[in-house]
Amino acid sequence: MKKNSPWASFYLALILVLLYLPVLMVVLFSFNSNPGRTANFQFEGFSLQWYRDLFDPVTGYGTALTTSLVLAGWSVLFSAVIGTLGAIGMVRRPRRRGLIGRAGHAALGAGEQIAVLPIMIPEIILGLALMALFSFIGIPFGMPALVLSHVAFCVPYIFITVKGRLASLDPGLEEAARDLGATPLKVLATVTLPLSFPAILSGCLLAFAMSMDDFVISFFVNGPQTTTLPLKVYSSVKVGVPPHVNALCTVMLGVVFTLVALGQLIQAGNLKRKDRLGYAGRDGLTGGLVP
């Protein structure tokens, strides 16, 4: 292997500093004891006052956090059902055109592309479109509209991860289950779903993060009682950055890092299992067959 030049290390260091220095600033100032009403970028001493402020019933973020969690919860739940079923239907569609006709086959192919489109559409367009749609058909802005909108952009994340997993599964497993007496529904419950569970879970984590994080789309369709966390943060920094936003950001960073680490651990566990699934070699006789 080629030895890395010192420039490469320097380059890496530069990128890391640029990426993480602002983040570190936020973390640092979340512990600042300077009592100014807006964030005073002069570090005076260590204090947890801003973390206490987070839970202040008036200026705190408790209500917004609850709103965001409820929103993300429902959105992920609906998206998981829709995305998983969609992926199963798409991957396990009849292999041959004969059964659904040439047009049906083409329609499914196009549907597969359309299903992931929300990821590519600029958020501002999606938000605007959803706002127009909800006004047109008379869905009041607020939680139902928010959930519908979030489902719209969360489904593709779950759809894609589950579809990838299913495509790599041996279809012979489902056939074997049928052959052993399982009805199609039982095959789904005992073979397909358990085997795609890791993918469903990681898709859900991704969708959850997207929902918690979304600002643009929520901005268009939220109601007076449904200020989500990102919306609340935005409204509170309009007149200068209040110091407890730093505390909030630090908490959120902590949660995100934990989730990412968790995801990596799950992935690593899966890899290890896959290793074990490899052939154990030529010691086929350890079971003690005929002498």
């Binding site: 052993l180 009805t183 086929g284 350890t286």
Partner: protein, 365 residues
């Protein structure tokens, strides 16, 4: 075999994928308790046939009858037929015991019955104590036996096996062949077995159905297939075979005089042979004999020894006939001194060892 009752009938079975015909008109009766092998080159339609019997594939035409009842449209989970898949298809998220018990659980069997029968099956395939292992922790041979146990726990009327030994190394393969045959005889379950290994087919089967291009070429006992091939394809697919081209010069009662490279050879006749017809004479390489002296045998050809390949106890010699055709002879290396390339030799065989067939090798590929 035919004294046993018919268990499964295939009638006019056809299967077309898009425009490709995988199975083109199969008729077959499978008898209760027999070990039937579908033998043929890859792509001959044997797996499709098996999948139709299992219910995993719907035939384009024709029907499947089990015990006289039409099961053509019956869902796979409702058929008293189970399959051992080529790659075993063990459920990777269940341990060995759960894999084996799967069929019983789907049937809604009680806990006690599941535990008892699973233990029985583990014992049958000699994997007692392996119940808690995951499939990923097993060797190929062990997985194979779990797959068999998983299919047998439901006591199917027919067990379908799709090249079950294909992934095993040669030594293990030989052992499993004996083991499977023994198991089949002990349980009395009808086996329909797929292989492309002709030796395996001859060794294990009660009957072999030789397939090519979606059709049966010949169905019969291993002895019938080896000793009395009906076509050149059947003759060439099984065993090491010489197919020598000649012309039926004269047809007498029960005998044909075949003209090969100027030699006139008596052969057993069939009623389909017409005088003057071009035919192939099938003689197994092991049934050919070689000598440097003119042997007093009616079936005798003279030629030049062009090559011989030593392989320990046996030698394969190639003899070129005056018309350019080559004949392979497999003979013992005992007393074969003097058989050097370039020498003039006689190859001869006993008349029953030669079978006349028509050339069908180019058809149906």
């Amino acid at each position: 075999m035919s004294d046993r009752p018919v268990l499964l009938s295939l009638r006019g079975l056809r299967k077309t994928f898009d425009t490709q015909e995988a199975v083109s008109g199969l008729d077959l009766e499978v008898f209760a308790g027999e070990f039937l092998t579908l033998l043929g080159p890859s792509g001959c339609g044997k797996t499709t046939t098996l999948r139709i019997i299992a219910g995993l594939e719907m035939p384009s035409a024709g029907s499947v009858l089990l015990d006289g009842q039409d099961i053509t449209a019956l869902a796979p989970e409702k058929r008293a037929v189970n399959t051992v898949f080529q790659n075993y298809a063990l459920f990777p998220h269940m341990n060995v015991a759960k894999n084996i018990a799967y069929g019983l659980r789907m049937r809604g069997a009680g806990k006690e019955e599941i535990a008892r029968k699973t233990a029985e099956m583990l014992e049958l395939v000699q994997l007692t104590g392996y119940g808690k292992r995951m499939p990923g922790q097993l060797s190929g041979g062990q997985r194979q036996r779990v797959a068999i146990a998983r299919s047998l726990i439901l006591s199917p009327r027919i067990l379908l096996l799709d090249e079950p030994l294909g992934a095993l190394d040669l030594q293990l393969r030989r052992q499993m062949q004996v083991e499977l045959k023994r198991m089949q005889q002990k349980l009395g379950i009808t086996f329909i077995y797929i292989t492309h290994d002709q030796e395996e087919a001859l060794l294990m089967s009660d009957r072999v159905a030789l397939m090519r291009g979606g059709r049966f070429v010949q169905v019969g006992t291993p002895l019938e297939l080896y000793e009395h091939p009906q076509t050149a394809f059947a003759a060439s697919f099984i065993g090491e075979t010489n197919l020598i081209a000649g012309r039926a010069a004269a047809v007498k009662e029960g005998e044909v005089l075949l003209d090969i490279a100027g030699f006139s050879l008596p052969c057993e006749s069939f009623d389909w042979i017409t005088p003057g017809e071009e035919l192939l004479l099938c003689v197994r390489a092991q049934r050919m004999h070689l000598s440097t002296e003119p042997v007093n045998a009616p079936c005798r050809l003279k030629g030049e020894l062009v090559e011989n390949h030593y392989a320990g106890g046996e030698r394969t010699s190639l003899v070129r006939l005056p018309d350019g055709q080559t004949v392979r002879v497999r003979h013992s290396t005992e007393n074969d001194a003097g058989l050097a390339p370039g020498s003039e030799v006689f190859c001869w065989w006993n008349m029953p060892s030669g079978v006349l067939v028509r050339d069908d090798r180019e058809e149906g590929q």
